[in-house]
């Protein structure tokens, strides 16, 4: 247990202590007690930067479940450190923001416990080297996110959104676990680093591609990629600090982390590159196109998050090409750098935008863009923050979004010019999709700024006013980061970005990173100008082209597909259950007998049936008579309607059985059978008085025919089993021993009795117990009946 282990678990420890604090003191806002936790973590992580920068990665191991190979192995390289700093850093700001945002009337204890759980889980995901442990923390993020989305449990939309995100991310999580297990079977290790070392083994194994697809499913569901993005807009029912933290800066980047982390494992595969690249670009274009039409500020931001995640995803896909086949390596390294850079940038500007949305919501009472306007003069600080961050999101200079977008476009142009195997045919589309997505990004960014802060003013539910200082601190910090990174990008490049990029590419020596504003007139710069021009025009004439959204019918959306499949799966599983379990005893008996015969017949066919009935005893005339008697009695039982006759015939069968035992030299059996049969018949006759007059109820022909077929099958199968068992006598009977030693060991001459009470006495003990229990049971049943009668009598009188 090192300090690092302790710090990763620190939020969990705090999550245990926080409810106690909450219970005993109500004066100070609970958030102040939570705030030191992420702050301590982020401060410590900053001290690790020089170590990681110098190229020595940190690795500590701690046994958790060594028998199955699940160990708490912390491994920190550039990539892990970058994410850990983002998580704890933005975590600090979000906690600070939530102190001002959430009033003391809310269930603050629950909120901070969930939030701390989530923080620990995320820190675990990004710093763990062991895939099983990684999966454990991964699911913990899903669970805590579920709890946070449904924070206002009384709201129906919250619980709906929570369930949706839970189902989708859990689905991906399970798939990912499958991928991990496959990988660990191939490489015989649970450590990601060792998997990277043996990526050639994975490449040659054949099932590597299946593992790849499964892990990608995990990443795509978590990072809200097409078509799994549908949970994210519904997760916006969570409190705004949660949306800012989970659904913009951290949790949705877990999928990106996974892709980045496993890039060295799967770089050999073009499937990996193509899937990530294409899905990322589709997500980028589709989500930004959809974001434009949304009315709720948070919905716009949700779709914007999805599209930016797609952007980063496609860059990671391109980055994997850097090693795949030795293409123009430099430019694909740039793609990785751009991806890492945009992860940082997106976390800063999206976090700030969510916080501003929360402020606007808090100060006016609505988030609907249609009902907001002219807040520029009333909320000048919020406006400034929005202006900076939304411009950065749109990719305008001098903010950081401009730099990463330039690098993105550059990489996309580069790939369209190189002719890479199967990509060459469609690679022209890549820059087009990228530009299209960027245009729409520009449009909705403008909509966020100008739709809310300019134009005519509306009557909002609350009188608008500038927010208190407390909630403004965090967005101000984030917005200043946007500007600082935008103006001086190289303060990050060699400290964080370069180690992270080399970790993704699995390089020993760091890649050279230098980000500068001016590259000269490149296609990327020209397309940025194009984006701004077209975007501005589209925004200005937005009313005239909004009709194209009308063509997207509700019926064809992915949301509708999800809802319908949920409804239908319930409907059809009910249908299947109701069809199979009818509630009738006979149906179940038919299943049992049916499967018995089917499996027996199948087994007989597979193994073959060879009968050799050579060693048979002779048949005597008396036995033939008995057989005839039994058959006739059985026939009468089958057809008679009178219960009296069937009881007598059953007795006839029983007494014939006793006679059989006589002929087969089993005197004890014959005695017992006679006695028992007499008692049974008596018992039937005792019940005779109460039981209904006819024993046979009317049955349809169909009913009888089914029964007949099943009965014949069961009879035939048991005959065949009996015959084949009789034909294959493998061992001599153990009874030779009993016969030999019945007198000298047990001092008895009747072998059957000696076996019953001496050799195998335990059977007899418990048979007696069975008999006793039956007796007690019958007694209780009778008592219950008479008691109930007494009750009824009392009621009547």
């Amino acid at each position: 247990m090192t300090l690092l282990h302790f710090l990763i678990l620190l939020p969990l420890i705090a999550a245990v202590i926080i409810p106690v604090v909450y219970k005993y003191q109500k004066d100070i806002h609970l958030g102040w007690f939570v705030l030191p936790v992420p702050f301590v973590i982020v401060s410590y992580l900053f001290t690790l930067i020089p170590t990681v920068k110098s190229g020595s990665n940190i690795y500590y191991t701690l046994n958790f479940m060594p028998k199955i190979g699940m160990n708490f192995d912390v491994y920190i390289d550039g990539l892990g450190l970058l994410f850990a700093i983002l998580i704890s850093g933005i975590g600090t700001l979000v906690v600070l923001y939530s102190i001002g945002y959430l009033s003391k009337d809310e269930k603050l204890g629950n909120f901070y416990v969930y939030l701390l759980m989530f923080m620990a889980a995320m820190l675990g995901v990004v710093t763990i080297d062991n895939v099983l442990m990684l999966y454990m923390f991964w699911e913990l993020t899903s669970i805590s996110s579920f709890l946070l989305i449904a924070f206002w449990t009384t709201k129906e939309r919250s619980t709906y959104g929570a369930q949706k995100s839970m189902l989708i991310t859990m689905f991906g999580g399970f798939m990912m676990l499958g991928g991990f297990i496959l990988l660990s079977i191939i490489t015989e290790t649970f450590s990601i680093r060792e998997m990277i070392a043996s990526s050639d083994v994975i490449a040659s194994s054949g099932v590597g591609v299946i593992a790849l697809v499964l892990i990608l499913l995990g990443a795509f569901t978590k990072s809200a990629q097409f078509p799994f993005y549908i949970w994210l807009p519904d997760a916006m029912e969570a409190p705004t600090p949660v949306s800012a933290y989970l659904h913009s800066a951290t949790m949705v980047k877990a999928g990106l982390y996974l892709v980045a982390r496993f890039t060295p494992v799967f770089m050999w595969s073009l499937t990996w590159v193509n899937t990530i690249l294409i899905i990322g670009l589709i997500t980028l274009a589709w989500a930004s196109f959809n974001a434009v039409v949304k009315d709720d500020m948070k919905a716009v931001l949700a779709f914007s998050t999805v599209s930016q995640l797609g952007l980063i995803m496609s860059l990671l896909g391109l980055g994997a090409l850097a090693v795949t086949a030795g293409f123009n390596e430099e430019i694909f390294t740039v793609a990785v750098i751009a991806a890492v850079f945009h992860i940082i940038n997106h976390a800063t500007f999206k976090g700030a935008l969510f916080m501003v949305t929360g402020i606007v919501d808090h100060q006016t009472g609505t988030r609907s863009i249609k009902r907001l306007g002219a807040l520029m003069t009333i909320m000048p600080i919020s406006f400034t923050i929005t202006l900076i961050t939304a411009f950065s999101m749109a990719g305008l200079p001098p903010f950081n979004g401009f730099l990463s977008k330039e690098m993105f476009l550059e990489a996309m142009f580069e790939i369209s010019q190189s002719n890479i195997t199967i990509l060459s045919t469609i690679s022209v589309l890549f820059p087009l999709l990228a530009i299209l997505g960027s245009i729409f990004t520009f449009v909705y960014s403008m909509k966020l700024i100008f739709g809310v802060f300019t134009g005519e003013s509306f009557d909002t539910p609350k009188e608008p006013s500038e927010a208190p200082m407390l909630v403004l601190i965090s967005p101000v910090i984030l917005a200043s980061l946007v500007v600082i990174i935008g103006l001086f990008p190289n303060i990050l490049s060699n400290t964080i970005i370069s180690p992270a990029a080399s970790a993704i590419l699995d390089r020993q020596n760091f890649v050279d990173v230098s980000i500068s504003f001016w590259h000269g007139v490149t296609p990327a710069l020209l397309s940025t100008i194009l984006i701004v021009l077209v975007g501005a025009l589209l925004y200005y004439f937005r009313e005239s082209w909004m009709f194209i959204y009308d063509y997207i019918k509700e019926r064809f959306t992915l949301n509708n597909f999800y809802d319908q499949s949920l409804v239908n799966s319930t409907k059809y599983s009910n249908k299947v259950t109701n069809t199979l379990s009818t509630g009738f005893l006979r149906t179940y008996l038919l299943y049992i007998f049916g499967f018995l015969t089917i499996f027996s017949i199948v087994t007989m066919f597979r193994t073959g049936l060879n009968l050799s009935l050579t060693d048979l005893a002779p048949i005597g005339i008396q036995e033939v008579i008995l057989i005839v008697v039994i058959l006739v009695s059985l026939g009468i039982i089958m057809i008679t309607k009178s219960r009296m006759v069937s009881i007598i015939m059953l007795g006839a069968v029983g007494f014939s059985m006793a006679l059989f035992f006589v002929f087969f030299r089993a005197p004890d059996l014959a005695l017992t059978q006679l006695a028992i049969e007499t008692v049974t018949t008596t018992l039937f006759l005792v019940c005779f008085y109460h039981l209904p007059k006819v024993s046979k109820l009317p049955e349809t022909r169909q009913f009888k025919l089914t029964n007949f077929i099943v009965a014949v099958m069961v009879g035939a199968v048991s005959i065949l089993i009996g015959l084949s068992a009789y034909s294959h006598r493998i061992f001599e009977s153990i009874s030779e021993y009993h016969i030999e030693h019945v007198y000298d060991l047990a001092a008895g001459k009747n072998m059957v009795n000696v076996i019953l009470v001496d050799f195998r006495g335990y059977d007899t003990v418990f048979e007696t117990v069975v008999f006793a229990i039956a007796g007690i049971g019958i007694y209780i049943l009778m008592r219950m009946t008479s008691l109930r009668k007494d009750d009824e009598n009392e009621e009547h009188t």
Partner: protein, 113 residues
């Protein structure tokens, strides 16, 4: 002999199946009784029939029939008797409470699914 007895016990089991699948409770109980007869007969036959003398030690006799299946069947007879007796009383009780002996009428409430 064994061949015939195996077929006979198969017939008993088949008839028992038919009876168990019918609607009336009484017939089902009769079916269970018939089933146990069939199984006992099958058990005895598997230990080979009519080889040697009654399994009671006698110095003049060399060969005995197999005593082990007999001991097992004895146990089985008692247990199946307990079962029959209990289910008979249960059927009686059910008939008094529910007023029917038709298993198709003995259905729980529909849960509305």
């Amino acid at each position: 002999m064994e061949f015939v007895m195996i077929i006979l016990s198969g017939v008993l089991i088949g008839c028992a199946t038919y009876l168990i699948l019918s609607k009336g409770v009484l017939r089902i109980i009769i079916g269970i009784s018939v089933l146990s007869h069939g199984v006992h007969l099958m058990l005895l036959t598997m230990g080979q029939l009519k080889r040697g003398n009654v399994p009671i030690l006698d110095e003049r006799v060399e060969v005995y029939t197999d005593p082990l299946p007999q001991a097992m069947i004895l146990t089985a007879i008692v247990i199946s008797f307990s079962l029959t007796a209990y289910s008979l009383v249960l059927a009686l009780n059910n008939y008094k409470v529910l007023g029917t002996d038709d298993t198709e009428d003995m259905k729980g409430r529909d849960d509305g699914y």
